[in-house]
């Protein structure tokens, strides 16, 4: 079966949040939104999906503060986010490049990440672009810290990092990434060459599993029509499902 690289990533991300009761994703990324919906469709136990900025996938009635309070209450146990820079300790920079506060490039800023990254049980980091520009030895600004001193109250943190080349697990005790698998068609050398931080490796690095036909069918069926409601252009491009189809679905 012909698998689009983005379908491959959707399936991989969905595996990374399997078993969650409630996953939240930012509004910026249709891929993580699709992955959350896929994970929910495939889950044996009820899994809620909150897509911020969506009208249907929101369980809040009190506005934008409720996401943060609900996260602190433990009512959201999985989160997916990206980052402008990510380093080997899973520190994430959303602020910009160069010394703060001057910065040579300014990004949008911290949003709620310093908070959510600490409090939601597990966060899957996701960045398609796998380059030394993104994966640096040390971020220029820590928006959200990967690890804290042991006395800091921190029920949550990073659990994995997914890129277009590979998947890492994060070991919170050691504060280091462990390469989990390299995607089909890519090599360990390629990963090393394009990663600016040091990471651990198993003796034999497996190839990332390819989604089976059941998973692909779910992506192209239920997930596509749901995702079209929030990301019509994305759904149109990837699945040929437009906004109108989503609305009548």
């Amino acid at each position: 079966m012909n698998i689009h690289p983005q379908e491959f990533l959707i399936a991989l991300l969905a595996r990374k949040i399997a078993g969650a009761r409630h996953v939240a994703v930012g509004s910026a990324s249709p891929l993580t939104g699709a992955a959350a919906l896929l994970a929910s469709e495939l889950s044996d136990t009820p899994m809620r999906v909150t897509i911020l900025g969506s009208k249907n996938h929101v369980f809040f009635t009190e506005g934008s503060r409720e996401l943060f309070d609900a996260s602190a209450q433990g009512r959201i146990d999985a989160f997916m986010m990206g980052g402008g820079q990510i380093d080997g300790q899973a520190n994430v920079n959303l602020m910009g490049v160069g010394p703060y506060p001057k910065l040579s490039v300014r990004w949008a800023g911290n949003y709620g990440t310093p908070y959510l990254y600490s409090l939601i049980k597990r966060t899957v980091l996701f960045r398609e672009e796998h380059t030394r520009r993104v994966f640096v030895s040390k971020v220029d600004y820590v928006s959200a810290a990967g690890v804290n001193e042991p006395n800091v109250f921190r029920p949550g943190g990073p659990s994995a990092l997914v890129t277009s080349l590979c998947a890492f697990d994060f070991d919170r005790k050691r504060g280091r990434f462990m390469l989990e698998s390299v995607h089909p068609g890519h090599t360990l050398e390629e990963v090393k060459d394009n990663t600016g931080f040091d990471f651990d490796m198993p003796e034999r690095v497996p190839v990332t599993a390819v989604p089976d036909s059941r998973v692909l069918g779910t992506i192209r069926g239920g997930v596509a029509s749901q995702i079209a409601e929030t990301y019509p252009q994305f759904a149109e491009r990837l699945f040929g499902v437009g906004r109108r189809a989503a609305k009548t679905a």
């Binding site: 911290n110 820590v142 921190r154």
Partner: protein, 281 residues
């Protein structure tokens, strides 16, 4: 007797409450739900030439902030992030940071919400879990980290209360007494409670009393908190406004392209703010 008939005013009277140097709270302006950015009022503020604003994005800033910054009305900006939806970082803001003409007080969204809740409760600070380890803590000299008095060897962040002088927003409707239906965006009510003055533009004014409608009232900001209301249909244009109208994506693209340069921004202001050209609905 309570007399609210004077609460409904014209736009220039409304914005007359916003003085030079004012600490002004404004809502996030890219949001899928009802209520939000009072863009028509923002244009009126620019026409009047307000100066030295300290803007607080609740909890982020976008078009409104960018227009005010580009027009030289802003001294300091405080927000959890700055973005124009899919158009990314606001261009006039980016130019102002490069030129060093504004001070950026970076925050994080839950800290702004919590600061406003502290403001609402009249308390000087509020603790918040998480956030420790982020550089936002090291650079925010107005925040403190203490050892939790109810624990042991348990550092916790305290953020200062935020009490804006003015909260400015656009809402779907007001009743004849100036009660505002804001829908489910309760963070706007919290910001209004925390502010000394709240100014609201609305899509429509209804000859009713929302306080006597047990269903509507749950989405209402009581006129106890409202200083002035002005009727401004399409008051959020070119932004979207809940189910009332979609964003004018073409106009926003035009704005973003114009605002990349000082000349382009000036031409945009001239045309859409000073000459008041509005793209028809």
């Amino acid at each position: 007797m309570a007399n609210n008939s004077k609460i409904i005013v014209d736009l220039d009277t409304l914005i007359s409450h916003i003085k030079d140097g004012c600490r002004l709270a404004i809502p996030t302006d890219f949001n899928g739900m009802y209520s939000g950015a009072a863009v028509a009022a923002t244009r009126a503020l620019i026409r009047r030439g307000v100066r030295d604003l300290h803007i607080i994005g609740v909890p982020t800033g976008g078009l409104q902030a960018d227009m005010l910054i580009g027009a030289g009305c802003v001294k300091r900006m405080e927000a959890g992030s700055m973005f124009l939806g899919e158009f990314g970082v606001p261009p006039a803001y980016a130019r102002a940071l490069k030129a060093g003409t504004i001070e950026m007080r970076d925050s994080t969204c839950p800290a702004i919400h919590a600061g406003l809740q502290a403001g609402e409760k009249g308390i000087p600070f509020i603790p918040l879990r998480g956030i420790l380890g982020s550089d936002v803590v090291s650079y925010r000299k107005d925040w403190k980290v203490i050892d939790n008095p109810f624990g042991e060897n348990d550092p916790i962040l305290l953020v200062a209360a935020i009490n804006p002088e003015v909260m400015l927003m656009h809402a779907p409707m007001a009743d004849r007494n100036g009660n505002i239906w804001i829908g489910r965006r309760r963070e706007l009510a919290v910001a209004a409670h925390a502010s000394a003055v709240t100014l609201v533009t609305v899509e429509k004014i209804v000859d009713a009393d929302f306080m006597r409608d047990e269903q509507l009232v749950t989405g209402v900001l009581s006129n106890l908190y409202v200083t002035a209301v002005s009727h401004q249909p399409k008051g959020a244009w070119p932004l979207s406004f809940g189910r009332e109208y979609d964003e004018d994506a073409e106009h926003l693209r035009h704005y973003v392209e114009s605002a990349r340069t000082e000349e382009g921004f000036k031409a945009y202001l001239e045309r859409y703010v000073f000459e008041r050209e509005v793209v028809p609905a």
